[in-house]
């Protein structure tokens, strides 16, 4: 992995591997008790459960002998949860009403989500500490809108606009969308998918470019071309997998045609279907997802840093893929009970692949940190919409 950050000549950097000491069985116990409390309180316990989980994960993430700390206050986060839930309900119900309401809901989403996202980043970072010092997120609102508004608008607005043209059909009976509306949707989707690596790169640059610890701020030096490279390879990989799967299906149909009259047909059919299901999940879900996760983590974290501090991520695809395959299988076989073990295993692989390199002894990284008052709304909003913050 190349390091595009300019490195002044001097002593070799100190390397500090990141350690993760959480255990699956302990997280299982925390998870079960949390879930019980969430169910019996009909969801109101959610922020307390979340703080407990984050505190456990942070307290087990070690850099140079010191663990991270999480300081979020559940009562504040409950308010954020309620705000975010209200927003989500209004949005999802609103988009089912008339075309105008759907357009309004989409506009509100596009208009508010970047601000919520930024608030969420600020909240998370401001409540994370290492060696007694809080992190900060220094990204501004304009940056959040610049990074998030174009993809959101491309993904949401065409459908809302097309919905309007559908509603204006004759006699209360909806007409099919006009060719112009269909064309608009098609064009926007095309721009969205072609631009996806660029939008992702912009978002990550906004995030990784505004992490701060004391007076130190990081920046992301990854090139947008490299992100496109990862996506192009992903498409190639998917195509290869499709050809392979097609060949496999053809072979099995051939065998099936020969053995059609056999008495054990039913059993063979079920077994074949099972193999298809597992193979399909592996090839079309786990493989591309793991590939993307591994390549993007290595690319983005290895180019994050500044003059005195630099991350280096070397997550290996093979072991990560095997881990994910094992996770999915065991989650399936245990009807979900393996889930906390899978989360811990994945997090360990991701974190322990990262090393922090510093040119100044870590002990000297002391500066005054400005106190900010983060809003709790964003953090929970990020969770509700399933947006990964990817720390």
């Amino acid at each position: 992995m190349t390091m595009a950050i300019d490195t002044p000549a001097g002593p070799p950097p100190e390397r500090h591997p990141i350690g993760f000491t959480a255990s699956g069985s302990e997280y299982f116990r925390i998870w079960i008790v949390n879930l019980l409390l969430i169910v019996v309180t009909l969801g109101l316990y959610l922020p307390w459960a979340k703080v407990r989980k984050l505190q456990y994960f942070h307290a087990n993430t070690w850099v140079d002998g010191d663990a991270l700390g999480f300081h979020g206050e559940p009562a504040k986060m409950l308010r954020g949860t309620l705000i975010a839930a209200a927003f989500l309900i209004v949005y999802s119900v609103g988009s089912h009403f008339s075309g105008w309401a759907a357009l309004l809901a989409a506009l509100a989403f596009v208009g508010l989500w970047p601000a919520l996202f930024r608030a969420s980043m600020r909240f998370r970072l401001a409540n994370t500490s290492w060696r007694g010092l809080r992190f900060r997120f220094t990204g501004d609102t304009a940056g959040a809108y610049g990074a998030l508004m174009p993809p959101l608008a491309l993904a949401l607005l065409p459908f809302a606009v097309a919905g309007l043209t559908v509603e204006s059909g004759e006699g209360g009976r909806p007409a099919a969308p006009s060719p112009a509306a269909t064309g608009l949707i098609g064009l926007c989707m095309l721009v969205f998918f072609v631009g996806l690596p660029f939008f992702l790169w912009k978002l990550r640059r906004y995030q990784h470019g505004h992490y701060a610890y004391g007076g130190l701020q990081t920046r992301l030096d990854a090139d947008v071309g490299v992100v496109y490279g990862v996506f192009i390879k992903l498409i190639g990989l998917t195509l290869a997998v499709m050809v392979l799967a097609g060949l496999g299906v053809g072979l099995l149909i051939g065998i099936g045609a020969i053995g059609r009259q056999g008495p054990g047909m039913g059993v063979a059919m079920v077994a074949t279907l099972m193999i298809f299901a597992i193979g399909g999940v592996l090839l079309f879900n786990i493989l591309p997802k793991s590939y993307l996760q591994v390549r993007l983590q290595n690319l983005l974290w290895s180019t994050t840093g500044n003059e005195v501090l630099l991350f280096d991520s070397r997550l290996k695809l093979g072991p990560f893929l095997r881990l994910q395959l094992k996770n999915y299988l065991l989650i399936f076989l245990t009807l979900g009970l393996y889930w906390p073990f899978a989360v811990i295993g994945t997090r360990r692989a991701q974190l322990e692949a990262v090393t922090l390199e510093t040119r100044t002894p870590l002990d000297e990284l002391t500066r005054a940190a400005g106190e900010e008052d983060p809003s709790a709304a964003g953090d929970m909003a990020a969770d509700l919409f399933g947006l990964d913050i990817g720390m």
């Binding site: 079960i32 008790v33 663990a67």
Partner: protein, 357 residues
Amino acid sequence: MSPVTDTLDARYFDGRSSRPRAARLYLADGQLHITPAATEPATFEALAVPIAQIRWPERTRHGGRLASLPGGASVQALDVPGWDDWCARTLPGRESPVVRAQQSWRGVALALVLLLAATAAVYQWGLPWIARGVTALVPQQVDTLIGAQALASLDESMLRPSALPADTQERIRRAFTRMVAGAHPEGAPPWNLQFRQGRDDKLGPNALALPGGTIVLTDALVQLLPGDEDAVLGVLGHEFGHVRLRHTMRQLVQASAVGFAVSIAFGDFGTLIGTAPVVLATLGYSRDAEREADEESVRLMRAAGISPRVMAGFFEAIERWRGDQARDGRNDSAIGLAFATHPATAERIAFFKAAAE
């Protein structure tokens, strides 16, 4: 109050720099006293913080210990087992039942049993109750709009106009109107009956209830039992049950609620894993809805003086039709779908026979 001599060595961070300072902790007068460790020249001024203002870490088997003090300062453990022992000695009874439960496998097993029971209760009663409430809040126009869109898209993809003679259509429509009026003299929700036929054989004898009150009846269903229109009325009664109870809307609400709950439990892992419980739960609710619709069908048939026993004959005819389809090698998804979303045919036959007693 514990003796002042019970001290703990830890590190103190003032919140303004990342420099750790060796500190000695002890409790006195309801306060945590943080003093510079005696062995070196004082690196900070001793301070005391009321215990109630401190956010203590929870005891876990793994991980560090960090107590947050007001104003961003913190105290961190040098030696985790030593920290836990000291807390147990000097702050007895402070540990929450939650921490005790999650640190014992017996507590976790109990929590798991209670969780399963609570989830089952929420699934059985809580969610349907909430879904009914939420559905009642959604204006009827929304159903109408969705239903109109659904019919338009069905007309484009799967359906074509009916070939039934106009007088047959009119006869069925009249009989059904009388039946609904008989069962609901106080007034019934609006409905409208549409005759259609499938574009191919796949749809077969079928009836659909769309949100907003549109009921679609296929020609094949009317022709399934020639001369026996009572069974057709029974089927229409079943679909009317879906309309009256706004099942489609309710299931939309229930499916979103289940999806939301699953995303909380299995938050940051693959979407694939999250879909299975949603699908299973939705199928379960769908079978419940079919049972409710069957009950409505019986109520309507009774009001019209039709014996629910005709439905037993109808289901047997449907089974025969399915058998013919399978023999002709046309057994495809249609049967699997009906199998999963509807209760077993034998159960439904038994239900209608019992209702006829």
